[in-house]
Protein backbone atom coordinates (compact mmCIF):
# COMPACT_ATOMS: atom_id res chain seq x y z
CA UNK A 1 0.00 0.00 0.00
CA UNK A 2 1.32 3.42 -0.89
CA UNK A 3 1.12 6.33 1.51
CA UNK A 4 1.66 8.86 -1.22
CA UNK A 5 -0.62 11.86 -0.71
CA UNK A 6 -2.93 12.26 -3.68
CA UNK A 7 -3.38 15.57 -5.39
CA UNK A 8 -6.86 17.01 -5.84
CA UNK A 9 -7.19 15.89 -9.44
CA UNK A 10 -6.29 12.29 -8.63
CA UNK A 11 -8.62 12.30 -5.65
CA UNK A 12 -11.45 13.56 -7.78
CA UNK A 13 -10.78 10.95 -10.45
CA UNK A 14 -10.92 8.23 -7.83
CA UNK A 15 -14.10 9.70 -6.41
CA UNK A 16 -15.88 9.75 -9.72
CA UNK A 17 -14.51 7.62 -12.53
CA UNK A 18 -12.98 5.04 -10.28
CA UNK A 19 -16.26 4.36 -8.55
CA UNK A 20 -17.78 3.47 -11.91
CA UNK A 21 -17.84 -0.12 -13.06
CA UNK A 22 -18.72 -2.09 -16.16
CA UNK A 23 -22.17 -3.59 -16.13
CA UNK A 24 -21.69 -7.25 -16.91
CA UNK A 25 -25.06 -8.90 -16.33
CA UNK A 26 -27.57 -6.09 -16.80
CA UNK A 27 -28.35 -4.07 -19.85
CA UNK A 28 -27.31 -0.39 -19.64
CA UNK A 29 -30.80 0.64 -20.73
CA UNK A 30 -32.26 -1.09 -17.70
CA UNK A 31 -29.87 0.77 -15.44
CA UNK A 32 -30.36 4.19 -17.03
CA UNK A 33 -33.94 3.98 -18.31
CA UNK A 34 -34.41 7.74 -18.71
CA UNK A 35 -31.40 8.48 -20.87
CA UNK A 36 -32.97 8.13 -24.33
CA UNK A 37 -36.60 9.21 -24.34
CA UNK A 38 -35.96 12.91 -24.76
CA UNK A 39 -34.16 12.34 -28.06
CA UNK A 40 -30.74 13.43 -26.75
CA UNK A 41 -27.83 11.44 -28.18
CA UNK A 42 -24.76 10.83 -26.01
CA UNK A 43 -21.97 9.09 -27.88
CA UNK A 44 -19.18 9.29 -25.30
CA UNK A 45 -19.62 10.11 -21.63
CA UNK A 46 -15.86 10.18 -21.14
CA UNK A 47 -15.84 13.56 -22.92
CA UNK A 48 -17.59 15.06 -19.89
CA UNK A 49 -15.31 17.69 -18.34
CA UNK A 50 -15.73 17.87 -14.60
CA UNK A 51 -16.95 21.38 -13.93
CA UNK A 52 -15.61 21.53 -10.39
CA UNK A 53 -13.25 19.18 -8.70
CA UNK A 54 -14.34 19.19 -5.16
CA UNK A 55 -13.82 16.00 -3.23
CA UNK A 56 -16.00 15.00 -0.32
CA UNK A 57 -13.39 15.73 2.34
CA UNK A 58 -12.69 19.24 1.06
CA UNK A 59 -16.42 19.85 0.53
CA UNK A 60 -17.20 19.10 4.18
CA UNK A 61 -14.27 21.22 5.31
CA UNK A 62 -15.24 24.30 3.27
CA UNK A 63 -18.92 24.06 4.06
CA UNK A 64 -18.32 23.53 7.77
CA UNK A 65 -16.19 26.66 7.93
CA UNK A 66 -18.83 28.66 6.12
CA UNK A 67 -21.58 27.36 8.38
CA UNK A 68 -19.64 28.27 11.50
CA UNK A 69 -19.37 31.87 10.37
CA UNK A 70 -22.95 31.95 9.16
CA UNK A 71 -24.46 30.71 12.39
CA UNK A 72 -22.25 33.03 14.45
CA UNK A 73 -23.76 35.94 12.57
CA UNK A 74 -27.30 34.60 12.91
CA UNK A 75 -26.73 34.40 16.68
CA UNK A 76 -25.36 37.92 16.82
CA UNK A 77 -28.25 39.18 14.70
CA UNK A 78 -30.83 37.69 17.00
CA UNK A 79 -29.08 38.70 20.23
CA UNK A 80 -28.89 42.28 19.01
CA UNK A 81 -32.55 42.32 18.00
CA UNK A 82 -31.47 42.77 14.39
CA UNK A 83 -35.10 42.76 13.29
CA UNK A 84 -35.43 46.25 14.77
CA UNK A 85 -32.61 47.62 12.65
CA UNK A 86 -33.96 46.96 9.19
CA UNK A 87 -34.94 50.11 7.30
CA UNK A 88 -38.67 49.67 7.75
CA UNK A 89 -41.11 46.87 8.59
CA UNK A 90 -42.34 46.96 4.99
CA UNK A 91 -38.98 45.48 3.97
CA UNK A 92 -39.70 42.25 5.83
CA UNK A 93 -42.44 41.47 3.30
CA UNK A 94 -39.74 40.98 0.66
CA UNK A 95 -38.28 38.13 2.69
CA UNK A 96 -41.71 36.67 3.41
CA UNK A 97 -41.99 36.40 -0.36
CA UNK A 98 -38.53 34.84 -0.50
CA UNK A 99 -39.24 32.25 2.19
CA UNK A 100 -42.60 31.20 0.75
CA UNK A 101 -41.70 31.52 -2.93
CA UNK A 102 -37.98 30.82 -3.33
CA UNK A 103 -36.70 28.72 -0.42
CA UNK A 104 -39.04 25.81 -1.26
CA UNK A 105 -37.49 25.88 -4.75
CA UNK A 106 -34.13 25.16 -3.15
CA UNK A 107 -35.73 22.06 -1.71
CA UNK A 108 -37.19 21.18 -5.11
CA UNK A 109 -33.71 21.68 -6.59
CA UNK A 110 -32.23 19.32 -3.98
CA UNK A 111 -34.76 16.69 -4.94
CA UNK A 112 -34.37 17.31 -8.69
CA UNK A 113 -30.58 17.11 -8.68
CA UNK A 114 -30.65 14.00 -6.51
CA UNK A 115 -32.93 12.41 -9.11
CA UNK A 116 -30.85 13.27 -12.18
CA UNK A 117 -27.74 12.41 -10.16
CA UNK A 118 -28.97 8.83 -10.46
CA UNK A 119 -30.12 8.90 -14.07
CA UNK A 120 -27.08 9.89 -16.13
CA UNK A 121 -24.90 7.18 -17.63
CA UNK A 122 -21.71 9.18 -16.99
CA UNK A 123 -20.23 9.02 -13.50
CA UNK A 124 -18.80 12.57 -13.70
CA UNK A 125 -22.23 14.06 -14.41
CA UNK A 126 -23.83 11.96 -11.70
CA UNK A 127 -21.38 13.03 -9.02
CA UNK A 128 -21.62 16.70 -10.01
CA UNK A 129 -25.41 16.58 -9.73
CA UNK A 130 -25.27 14.80 -6.38
CA UNK A 131 -22.90 17.48 -5.06
CA UNK A 132 -25.23 20.22 -6.24
CA UNK A 133 -28.11 18.38 -4.61
CA UNK A 134 -26.31 18.58 -1.24
CA UNK A 135 -25.74 22.30 -1.73
CA UNK A 136 -29.40 22.90 -2.43
CA UNK A 137 -30.42 21.09 0.73
CA UNK A 138 -27.95 23.24 2.67
CA UNK A 139 -29.42 26.37 1.07
CA UNK A 140 -32.98 25.62 2.07
CA UNK A 141 -31.84 24.87 5.62
CA UNK A 142 -29.75 28.00 6.02
CA UNK A 143 -32.51 30.16 4.52
CA UNK A 144 -35.05 28.79 6.96
CA UNK A 145 -32.64 29.41 9.81
CA UNK A 146 -31.84 32.92 8.60
CA UNK A 147 -35.51 33.84 8.45
CA UNK A 148 -36.69 31.96 11.51
CA UNK A 149 -35.65 34.93 13.60
CA UNK A 150 -38.09 37.16 11.73
CA UNK A 151 -40.82 34.61 12.37
CA UNK A 152 -40.63 35.51 16.06
CA UNK A 153 -41.40 39.16 15.39
CA UNK A 154 -43.42 39.40 12.17
CA UNK A 155 -46.47 37.68 10.72
CA UNK A 156 -46.73 35.59 7.58
CA UNK A 157 -43.68 33.32 7.96
CA UNK A 158 -45.23 30.51 9.97
CA UNK A 159 -46.61 28.16 7.33
CA UNK A 160 -44.31 28.78 4.38
CA UNK A 161 -44.06 25.16 3.24
CA UNK A 162 -47.80 24.56 3.49
CA UNK A 163 -48.47 27.81 1.67
CA UNK A 164 -46.01 27.01 -1.10
CA UNK A 165 -48.11 24.00 -2.03
CA UNK A 166 -51.45 25.80 -1.99
CA UNK A 167 -51.50 29.59 -2.23
CA UNK A 168 -52.43 30.99 -5.64
CA UNK A 169 -49.34 33.11 -6.39
CA UNK A 170 -46.98 30.51 -4.98
CA UNK A 171 -48.26 28.10 -7.61
CA UNK A 172 -46.17 30.21 -10.02
CA UNK A 173 -42.75 29.19 -8.66
CA UNK A 174 -44.04 25.78 -7.57
CA UNK A 175 -45.43 24.82 -10.98
CA UNK A 176 -42.25 26.11 -12.63
CA UNK A 177 -40.16 23.63 -10.65
CA UNK A 178 -42.74 20.85 -10.91
CA UNK A 179 -42.52 21.29 -14.68
CA UNK A 180 -38.72 20.95 -14.59
CA UNK A 181 -38.69 17.97 -12.22
CA UNK A 182 -41.27 16.06 -14.22
CA UNK A 183 -39.24 16.54 -17.41
CA UNK A 184 -36.49 14.15 -18.48
CA UNK A 185 -33.04 14.42 -16.89
CA UNK A 186 -31.44 16.37 -19.73
CA UNK A 187 -34.28 18.86 -19.93
CA UNK A 188 -34.06 19.32 -16.16
CA UNK A 189 -30.39 20.21 -16.51
CA UNK A 190 -31.05 22.72 -19.28
CA UNK A 191 -34.01 24.12 -17.31
CA UNK A 192 -32.45 24.46 -13.88
CA UNK A 193 -28.71 23.91 -14.33
CA UNK A 194 -28.33 26.17 -17.32
CA UNK A 195 -31.30 28.50 -17.81
CA UNK A 196 -32.01 29.22 -14.18
CA UNK A 197 -28.69 28.76 -12.41
CA UNK A 198 -26.45 30.05 -15.16
CA UNK A 199 -28.43 32.67 -17.07
CA UNK A 200 -31.08 33.98 -14.66
CA UNK A 201 -29.62 33.45 -11.19
CA UNK A 202 -28.07 36.91 -10.97
CA UNK A 203 -31.49 38.43 -11.55
CA UNK A 204 -32.83 36.52 -8.58
CA UNK A 205 -30.10 36.49 -5.96
CA UNK A 206 -28.35 39.79 -6.54
CA UNK A 207 -31.55 41.82 -6.08
CA UNK A 208 -32.58 39.93 -2.94
CA UNK A 209 -29.11 39.96 -1.37
CA UNK A 210 -28.30 43.57 -2.29
CA UNK A 211 -31.82 44.47 -1.19
CA UNK A 212 -31.03 42.88 2.16
CA UNK A 213 -27.70 44.74 2.38
CA UNK A 214 -29.32 48.09 1.55
CA UNK A 215 -32.04 47.53 4.12
CA UNK A 216 -30.05 46.44 7.14
CA UNK A 217 -30.87 42.73 6.95
CA UNK A 218 -27.56 41.16 8.00
CA UNK A 219 -29.01 37.67 8.35
CA UNK A 220 -30.11 37.43 4.73
CA UNK A 221 -26.96 39.11 3.38
CA UNK A 222 -24.80 36.62 5.23
CA UNK A 223 -26.78 33.72 3.93
CA UNK A 224 -26.23 35.15 0.45
CA UNK A 225 -22.46 35.29 0.92
CA UNK A 226 -22.44 31.79 2.26
CA UNK A 227 -24.24 30.50 -0.83
CA UNK A 228 -22.15 32.48 -3.30
CA UNK A 229 -19.30 30.01 -3.77
CA UNK A 230 -21.86 27.21 -4.20
CA UNK A 231 -23.68 29.23 -6.84
CA UNK A 232 -20.43 29.72 -8.72
CA UNK A 233 -20.00 25.94 -8.91
CA UNK A 234 -23.61 25.51 -10.03
CA UNK A 235 -23.11 27.98 -12.84
CA UNK A 236 -20.07 26.06 -14.03
CA UNK A 237 -22.10 22.85 -14.08
CA UNK A 238 -24.92 24.54 -16.03
CA UNK A 239 -22.54 25.71 -18.71
CA UNK A 240 -20.73 22.37 -18.92
CA UNK A 241 -24.04 20.58 -19.50
CA UNK A 242 -24.88 22.80 -22.46
CA UNK A 243 -21.45 22.47 -24.05
CA UNK A 244 -21.39 18.72 -23.50
CA UNK A 245 -24.82 18.18 -25.06
CA UNK A 246 -24.05 20.37 -28.04
CA UNK A 247 -20.68 18.73 -28.68
CA UNK A 248 -21.99 15.17 -28.36
CA UNK A 249 -24.28 15.15 -31.40
CA UNK A 250 -25.62 17.67 -33.89
CA UNK A 251 -29.13 16.24 -33.46
CA UNK A 252 -29.07 17.61 -29.93
CA UNK A 253 -28.85 21.22 -31.12
CA UNK A 254 -32.54 21.83 -32.02
CA UNK A 255 -33.70 20.03 -28.85
CA UNK A 256 -31.43 22.10 -26.65
CA UNK A 257 -32.47 25.28 -28.47
CA UNK A 258 -36.14 24.54 -27.80
CA UNK A 259 -35.44 23.88 -24.13
CA UNK A 260 -33.46 27.11 -23.79
CA UNK A 261 -36.31 29.02 -25.43
CA UNK A 262 -38.83 27.44 -23.10
CA UNK A 263 -36.91 27.66 -19.85
CA UNK A 264 -35.62 31.17 -20.22
CA UNK A 265 -39.22 32.28 -20.73
CA UNK A 266 -40.53 30.14 -17.85
CA UNK A 267 -37.79 31.45 -15.56
CA UNK A 268 -38.29 35.03 -16.64
CA UNK A 269 -42.00 34.82 -15.83
CA UNK A 270 -41.15 33.58 -12.31
CA UNK A 271 -38.82 36.58 -11.94
CA UNK A 272 -41.88 38.84 -12.22
CA UNK A 273 -42.00 38.45 -8.43
CA UNK A 274 -38.45 39.79 -8.19
CA UNK A 275 -39.26 42.76 -10.43
CA UNK A 276 -42.00 43.98 -8.11
CA UNK A 277 -39.91 43.21 -5.03
CA UNK A 278 -37.14 45.50 -6.31
CA UNK A 279 -39.28 48.41 -7.38
CA UNK A 280 -41.97 48.30 -4.70
CA UNK A 281 -40.99 46.30 -1.63
CA UNK A 282 -37.55 47.66 -0.77
CA UNK A 283 -37.68 50.86 1.30
CA UNK A 284 -34.08 51.56 0.23
CA UNK A 285 -33.90 50.79 -3.47
CA UNK A 286 -30.86 49.10 -4.96
CA UNK A 287 -31.54 49.74 -8.63
CA UNK A 288 -34.68 49.50 -10.70
CA UNK A 289 -35.84 46.22 -12.23
CA UNK A 290 -35.18 47.73 -15.63
CA UNK A 291 -31.58 48.56 -14.75
CA UNK A 292 -31.01 45.15 -13.26
CA UNK A 293 -32.58 43.45 -16.28
CA UNK A 294 -30.33 45.42 -18.63
CA UNK A 295 -27.16 44.47 -16.78
CA UNK A 296 -27.91 40.87 -15.81
CA UNK A 297 -29.98 39.78 -18.77
CA UNK A 298 -29.54 41.95 -21.82
CA UNK A 299 -25.78 42.44 -21.54
CA UNK A 300 -24.91 39.10 -19.99
CA UNK A 301 -27.15 37.03 -22.25
CA UNK A 302 -26.06 38.72 -25.43
CA UNK A 303 -22.42 37.87 -24.76
CA UNK A 304 -23.37 34.33 -23.72
CA UNK A 305 -25.35 33.71 -26.90
CA UNK A 306 -22.48 35.09 -28.97
CA UNK A 307 -20.35 32.32 -27.44
CA UNK A 308 -22.99 29.69 -28.10
CA UNK A 309 -23.45 30.77 -31.73
CA UNK A 310 -20.61 28.48 -32.82
CA UNK A 311 -22.77 25.52 -31.79
CA UNK A 312 -25.72 26.86 -33.78
CA UNK A 313 -27.59 28.13 -30.70
CA UNK A 314 -29.39 31.46 -31.02
CA UNK A 315 -30.89 33.99 -28.63
CA UNK A 316 -34.42 32.76 -27.83
CA UNK A 317 -37.14 34.55 -29.80
CA UNK A 318 -38.96 35.52 -26.57
CA UNK A 319 -36.00 37.55 -25.33
CA UNK A 320 -37.36 40.42 -27.41
CA UNK A 321 -40.71 40.15 -25.60
CA UNK A 322 -39.00 40.23 -22.21
CA UNK A 323 -36.93 43.26 -23.21
CA UNK A 324 -40.05 45.06 -24.47
CA UNK A 325 -41.77 44.50 -21.11
CA UNK A 326 -39.00 45.84 -18.90
CA UNK A 327 -40.61 49.24 -18.40
CA UNK A 328 -43.94 47.69 -17.39
CA UNK A 329 -43.35 44.39 -15.64
CA UNK A 330 -42.90 45.50 -12.03
CA UNK A 331 -45.83 47.94 -12.12
CA UNK A 332 -48.18 45.34 -13.55
CA UNK A 333 -47.04 42.79 -10.97
CA UNK A 334 -47.51 45.15 -8.03
CA UNK A 335 -50.96 46.02 -9.39
CA UNK A 336 -51.85 42.33 -9.22
CA UNK A 337 -50.75 42.01 -5.61
CA UNK A 338 -52.37 45.29 -4.60
CA UNK A 339 -55.64 44.09 -6.21
CA UNK A 340 -55.46 40.79 -4.34
CA UNK A 341 -53.76 42.00 -1.14
CA UNK A 342 -56.55 40.36 0.86
CA UNK A 343 -55.51 36.98 -0.54
CA UNK A 344 -51.74 37.32 -0.02
CA UNK A 345 -49.73 36.13 2.98
CA UNK A 346 -47.71 39.35 3.05
CA UNK A 347 -48.63 43.02 3.14
CA UNK A 348 -49.05 45.34 0.20
CA UNK A 349 -49.23 49.14 0.09
CA UNK A 350 -49.22 52.10 -2.21
CA UNK A 351 -45.81 53.75 -2.70
CA UNK A 352 -45.24 57.04 -0.88
CA UNK A 353 -45.07 60.28 -2.90
CA UNK A 354 -41.28 60.12 -2.73
CA UNK A 355 -41.29 56.52 -3.96
CA UNK A 356 -43.61 57.41 -6.82
CA UNK A 357 -41.18 60.17 -7.81
CA UNK A 358 -38.38 57.59 -7.85
CA UNK A 359 -40.51 55.36 -10.12
CA UNK A 360 -41.26 58.32 -12.43
CA UNK A 361 -37.55 59.04 -12.68
CA UNK A 362 -36.58 55.41 -13.30
CA UNK A 363 -39.42 54.74 -15.75
CA UNK A 364 -39.84 57.98 -17.70
CA UNK A 365 -41.57 56.26 -20.62
CA UNK A 366 -44.18 54.35 -18.69
CA UNK A 367 -44.81 55.26 -15.06
CA UNK A 368 -46.43 58.68 -15.31
CA UNK A 369 -48.45 57.81 -18.38
CA UNK A 370 -49.85 54.42 -17.39
CA UNK A 371 -49.35 53.69 -13.69
CA UNK A 372 -49.13 56.83 -11.59
CA UNK A 373 -52.76 57.90 -12.23
CA UNK A 374 -53.94 54.41 -11.23
CA UNK A 375 -51.88 54.43 -8.04
CA UNK A 376 -52.98 57.95 -7.11
CA UNK A 377 -56.58 56.85 -7.50
CA UNK A 378 -55.95 53.87 -5.24
CA UNK A 379 -54.29 56.11 -2.68
CA UNK A 380 -57.29 58.43 -2.83
CA UNK A 381 -59.63 55.49 -2.22
CA UNK A 382 -57.49 54.38 0.70
CA UNK A 383 -57.50 57.86 2.24
CA UNK A 384 -61.28 57.85 1.95
CA UNK A 385 -61.32 54.67 4.01
CA UNK A 386 -62.13 52.48 1.00
CA UNK A 387 -58.87 50.72 0.29
CA UNK A 388 -59.35 49.00 -3.07
CA UNK A 389 -59.43 45.21 -3.18
CA UNK A 390 -60.52 43.38 -6.31
CA UNK A 391 -63.77 41.60 -5.40
CA UNK A 392 -63.53 38.89 -8.12
CA UNK A 393 -61.02 36.10 -8.78
CA UNK A 394 -58.53 36.66 -11.62
CA UNK A 395 -58.09 34.77 -14.87
CA UNK A 396 -54.76 32.90 -14.92
CA UNK A 397 -52.36 31.86 -17.67
CA UNK A 398 -52.44 28.07 -18.20
CA UNK A 399 -48.64 27.84 -18.39
CA UNK A 400 -47.09 30.33 -15.95
CA UNK A 401 -50.23 30.52 -13.75
CA UNK A 402 -49.76 34.27 -13.19
CA UNK A 403 -52.96 36.36 -13.31
CA UNK A 404 -53.35 37.75 -16.82
CA UNK A 405 -51.96 41.16 -15.91
CA UNK A 406 -49.51 41.52 -18.78
CA UNK A 407 -50.27 43.72 -21.76
CA UNK A 408 -49.41 43.90 -25.44
CA UNK A 409 -46.34 46.06 -25.69
CA UNK A 410 -47.57 47.72 -28.86
CA UNK A 411 -50.72 48.68 -26.98
CA UNK A 412 -49.65 48.77 -23.33
CA UNK A 413 -53.14 49.18 -21.84
CA UNK A 414 -54.54 46.18 -23.70
CA UNK A 415 -54.39 42.84 -21.90
CA UNK A 416 -52.34 40.28 -23.80
CA UNK A 417 -54.66 37.38 -24.61
CA UNK A 418 -53.59 34.18 -26.35
CA UNK A 419 -55.73 31.08 -26.76
CA UNK A 420 -55.35 27.53 -28.06
CA UNK A 421 -58.00 24.89 -28.56
CA UNK A 422 -56.67 21.41 -27.81
CA UNK A 423 -58.72 18.21 -27.88
CA UNK A 424 -61.94 20.22 -27.86
CA UNK A 425 -61.07 22.45 -24.90
CA UNK A 426 -59.95 26.08 -24.70
CA UNK A 427 -56.69 27.03 -22.96
CA UNK A 428 -55.68 30.63 -22.33
CA UNK A 429 -52.28 32.26 -22.05
CA UNK A 430 -50.58 35.56 -21.24
CA UNK A 431 -47.95 35.55 -23.98
CA UNK A 432 -46.56 33.88 -27.09
CA UNK A 433 -43.95 32.14 -24.95
CA UNK A 434 -46.51 30.54 -22.64
CA UNK A 435 -48.78 29.57 -25.55
CA UNK A 436 -45.96 27.96 -27.54
CA UNK A 437 -44.83 25.96 -24.51
CA UNK A 438 -48.34 24.57 -24.11
CA UNK A 439 -48.81 23.92 -27.82
CA UNK A 440 -45.65 21.84 -27.99
CA UNK A 441 -46.53 19.57 -25.05
CA UNK A 442 -50.25 19.99 -24.36
CA UNK A 443 -50.57 16.64 -22.61
CA UNK A 444 -48.33 18.00 -19.88
CA UNK A 445 -50.03 21.34 -19.31
CA UNK A 446 -53.64 20.14 -19.47
CA UNK A 447 -52.77 18.82 -15.99
CA UNK A 448 -51.94 22.25 -14.58
CA UNK A 449 -53.34 22.77 -11.05
CA UNK A 450 -54.79 26.22 -11.63
CA UNK A 451 -55.57 27.78 -8.24
CA UNK A 452 -58.66 29.71 -9.37
CA UNK A 453 -60.16 26.71 -11.17
CA UNK A 454 -59.43 24.50 -8.17
CA UNK A 455 -61.35 26.89 -5.94
CA UNK A 456 -64.28 26.75 -8.39
CA UNK A 457 -64.15 22.96 -8.37
CA UNK A 458 -64.49 22.97 -4.59
CA UNK A 459 -61.07 21.42 -3.99
CA UNK A 460 -59.78 24.21 -1.74
CA UNK A 461 -62.44 24.23 0.95
CA UNK A 462 -65.16 26.78 1.04
CA UNK A 463 -67.78 27.77 0.27
CA UNK A 464 -66.68 31.31 1.20
CA UNK A 465 -63.36 32.85 0.13
CA UNK A 466 -62.52 33.34 3.83
CA UNK A 467 -62.62 29.55 4.22
CA UNK A 468 -60.24 29.09 1.31
CA UNK A 469 -57.83 31.76 2.53
CA UNK A 470 -58.01 30.93 6.22
CA UNK A 471 -58.51 27.17 6.41
CA UNK A 472 -57.02 25.94 3.17
CA UNK A 473 -54.16 28.42 2.66
CA UNK A 474 -53.63 28.94 6.43
CA UNK A 475 -53.38 32.70 6.08
CA UNK A 476 -54.17 34.35 9.43
CA UNK A 477 -56.86 36.68 8.19
CA UNK A 478 -56.54 40.29 9.25
CA UNK A 479 -53.00 39.55 10.43
CA UNK A 480 -50.86 38.14 7.60
CA UNK A 481 -52.83 39.69 4.73
CA UNK A 482 -54.29 43.11 3.79
CA UNK A 483 -52.55 46.46 3.59
CA UNK A 484 -49.41 47.18 5.59
CA UNK A 485 -51.21 50.19 7.00
CA UNK A 486 -53.15 49.03 10.00
CA UNK A 487 -51.36 45.67 10.21
CA UNK A 488 -50.07 44.16 13.48
CA UNK A 489 -46.59 44.21 11.85
CA UNK A 490 -46.85 47.97 11.54
CA UNK A 491 -48.16 48.38 15.08
CA UNK A 492 -45.28 46.35 16.55
CA UNK A 493 -42.73 48.23 14.49
CA UNK A 494 -44.13 51.56 15.65
CA UNK A 495 -44.08 50.40 19.25
CA UNK A 496 -40.41 49.37 19.01
CA UNK A 497 -39.47 52.72 17.59
CA UNK A 498 -41.92 54.87 19.55
CA UNK A 499 -43.50 55.95 16.32
CA UNK A 500 -46.99 57.31 16.22
CA UNK A 501 -49.08 56.44 13.15
CA UNK A 502 -50.14 59.49 11.16
CA UNK A 503 -53.83 58.87 11.89
CA UNK A 504 -53.31 58.92 15.65
CA UNK A 505 -51.29 62.12 15.35
CA UNK A 506 -54.25 63.72 13.60
CA UNK A 507 -56.64 62.47 16.28
CA UNK A 508 -54.42 63.89 19.03
CA UNK A 509 -54.12 67.21 17.26
CA UNK A 510 -57.85 67.60 16.81
Amino acid sequence: MSNKKLNLKDKYRLLTRDLEWEFSYRDRKEIFPQEDFEGIKITDWSKWEDPFRLTMDSYWKYQAEKEKKLYAIFDAFSQNNGQQNVTDARYVNAIKLFLTGVSPLEYQAYSGFAHVGRQFGGAGARVACQMQSLDELRHVQTQIHAMSHYNKHFDGFQDFAHMHDRVWYLSVPKSFFDDARSAGPFEFMVAIGFSFEYVLTNLLFVPFMSGAAYNGDMATVTFGFSAQSDEARHMTLGLEVIKFLLEQHEDNVPIVQRWINKWLWRGYRVLTLVAMMMDYMLPNKVMSWQESFEVYFEEAASSLFKDLARYGIEMPPYAADAIAEKEHLSHQAWSIFYNYGHAAAFHTWMPTEQEMDWLSEKYPNSFDQYYRPRFEKWREMEEAGERYYNPTLPMLCQTCQIPMGFTDMENPTMTSYRQSVYDGERYNFCSNGCKDIFDYEPEKYVQAWMPVHQIFQGNCGGPEMEDVLGDYYKINLGVDNLDFKGSPDEARWNAWHNLIPAEDKLKKAS
Binding site: F37, R372, M404, G405, Q419, N428, V452, Q457
Partner: protein, 120 residues
Protein backbone atom coordinates in the same frame (compact mmCIF):
# COMPACT_ATOMS: atom_id res chain seq x y z
CA UNK B 1 -45.89 13.37 -29.66
CA UNK B 2 -47.91 15.67 -27.39
CA UNK B 3 -45.41 15.34 -24.54
CA UNK B 4 -41.96 13.83 -24.04
CA UNK B 5 -42.67 10.95 -21.67
CA UNK B 6 -41.18 7.63 -20.63
CA UNK B 7 -44.48 5.88 -21.32
CA UNK B 8 -45.69 5.71 -24.91
CA UNK B 9 -48.80 7.68 -25.87
CA UNK B 10 -48.95 9.32 -22.49
CA UNK B 11 -52.27 11.08 -21.88
CA UNK B 12 -52.52 13.72 -19.16
CA UNK B 13 -55.52 14.13 -16.92
CA UNK B 14 -57.57 17.15 -18.02
CA UNK B 15 -57.88 18.88 -14.69
CA UNK B 16 -60.26 21.58 -15.88
CA UNK B 17 -62.72 19.66 -18.01
CA UNK B 18 -66.18 21.13 -17.66
CA UNK B 19 -67.50 18.04 -15.84
CA UNK B 20 -65.32 18.96 -12.85
CA UNK B 21 -67.16 22.22 -12.23
CA UNK B 22 -70.39 20.78 -10.79
CA UNK B 23 -72.70 22.05 -13.51
CA UNK B 24 -70.84 25.30 -14.04
CA UNK B 25 -68.52 26.43 -16.77
CA UNK B 26 -65.74 29.00 -16.47
CA UNK B 27 -66.32 32.40 -18.02
CA UNK B 28 -63.65 35.10 -18.21
CA UNK B 29 -64.61 38.75 -18.55
CA UNK B 30 -62.27 41.66 -19.29
CA UNK B 31 -62.93 45.39 -19.64
CA UNK B 32 -60.50 46.67 -22.29
CA UNK B 33 -58.21 49.55 -21.26
CA UNK B 34 -59.38 49.56 -17.65
CA UNK B 35 -56.43 48.09 -15.81
CA UNK B 36 -57.47 49.25 -12.38
CA UNK B 37 -58.70 45.64 -12.56
CA UNK B 38 -55.27 44.09 -12.92
CA UNK B 39 -56.45 41.10 -14.98
CA UNK B 40 -59.63 39.77 -16.57
CA UNK B 41 -61.84 38.10 -13.98
CA UNK B 42 -63.13 34.55 -13.77
CA UNK B 43 -66.59 33.22 -12.90
CA UNK B 44 -68.06 29.75 -12.53
CA UNK B 45 -71.60 29.90 -13.93
CA UNK B 46 -74.08 27.42 -15.41
CA UNK B 47 -74.18 27.34 -19.24
CA UNK B 48 -77.94 28.02 -18.96
CA UNK B 49 -77.24 31.45 -17.48
CA UNK B 50 -79.05 34.11 -19.53
CA UNK B 51 -76.77 36.84 -20.81
CA UNK B 52 -78.91 39.38 -18.92
CA UNK B 53 -77.39 38.02 -15.73
CA UNK B 54 -73.91 38.77 -17.07
CA UNK B 55 -75.00 42.35 -17.69
CA UNK B 56 -77.00 42.87 -14.51
CA UNK B 57 -74.99 40.93 -11.95
CA UNK B 58 -71.59 39.62 -12.99
CA UNK B 59 -70.20 42.71 -14.70
CA UNK B 60 -71.42 45.22 -12.06
CA UNK B 61 -70.20 42.92 -9.29
CA UNK B 62 -66.73 42.82 -10.78
CA UNK B 63 -66.26 46.28 -12.24
CA UNK B 64 -68.58 48.81 -10.58
CA UNK B 65 -65.83 50.12 -8.29
CA UNK B 66 -64.38 51.95 -11.29
CA UNK B 67 -65.27 55.66 -11.40
CA UNK B 68 -66.23 55.36 -15.09
CA UNK B 69 -68.52 52.40 -14.62
CA UNK B 70 -71.65 54.54 -14.25
CA UNK B 71 -70.82 56.40 -17.46
CA UNK B 72 -70.89 53.34 -19.71
CA UNK B 73 -73.36 53.64 -22.58
CA UNK B 74 -74.25 49.97 -22.95
CA UNK B 75 -75.64 50.47 -26.46
CA UNK B 76 -72.20 51.62 -27.61
CA UNK B 77 -70.25 48.81 -25.97
CA UNK B 78 -68.15 46.68 -28.34
CA UNK B 79 -68.02 43.00 -27.48
CA UNK B 80 -65.55 40.27 -28.37
CA UNK B 81 -65.96 36.58 -27.71
CA UNK B 82 -62.68 34.64 -27.92
CA UNK B 83 -61.19 37.46 -30.02
CA UNK B 84 -64.08 37.49 -32.55
CA UNK B 85 -66.47 40.42 -32.80
CA UNK B 86 -69.69 39.48 -31.00
CA UNK B 87 -73.23 40.77 -30.50
CA UNK B 88 -74.72 39.33 -27.34
CA UNK B 89 -78.44 38.73 -26.90
CA UNK B 90 -79.53 39.50 -23.34
CA UNK B 91 -82.40 36.99 -23.51
CA UNK B 92 -80.34 34.03 -24.72
CA UNK B 93 -78.27 31.74 -22.50
CA UNK B 94 -74.47 31.58 -22.60
CA UNK B 95 -74.56 28.16 -24.28
CA UNK B 96 -77.25 29.38 -26.66
CA UNK B 97 -74.93 31.99 -28.14
CA UNK B 98 -71.71 30.00 -28.27
CA UNK B 99 -70.14 31.09 -24.99
CA UNK B 100 -68.55 27.80 -23.97
CA UNK B 101 -66.25 26.62 -21.17
CA UNK B 102 -63.22 28.89 -20.59
CA UNK B 103 -64.39 31.45 -23.14
CA UNK B 104 -63.13 35.01 -22.98
CA UNK B 105 -65.69 37.79 -23.18
CA UNK B 106 -64.23 41.28 -23.62
CA UNK B 107 -66.02 44.57 -23.66
CA UNK B 108 -64.67 47.91 -24.83
CA UNK B 109 -66.20 51.26 -23.95
CA UNK B 110 -65.17 53.80 -26.61
CA UNK B 111 -64.76 57.28 -25.18
CA UNK B 112 -63.97 56.00 -21.70
CA UNK B 113 -60.21 55.86 -21.44
CA UNK B 114 -59.66 54.91 -17.82
CA UNK B 115 -58.46 56.96 -14.85
CA UNK B 116 -57.18 60.28 -16.20
CA UNK B 117 -56.93 58.72 -19.65
CA UNK B 118 -54.29 56.23 -18.46
CA UNK B 119 -56.08 53.07 -19.59
CA UNK B 120 -56.40 52.12 -15.93
Amino acid sequence: MAVAAITENYVGERLDRVENFHGNQVLYIGWDHHLMFCAPVAFAVPPETPFSKVLDELIPGAFSLHPEFGEIDWDQVEWHLNAESFTPDANVTLAGQGIDHKSILRFATPGLNGIKGSGS
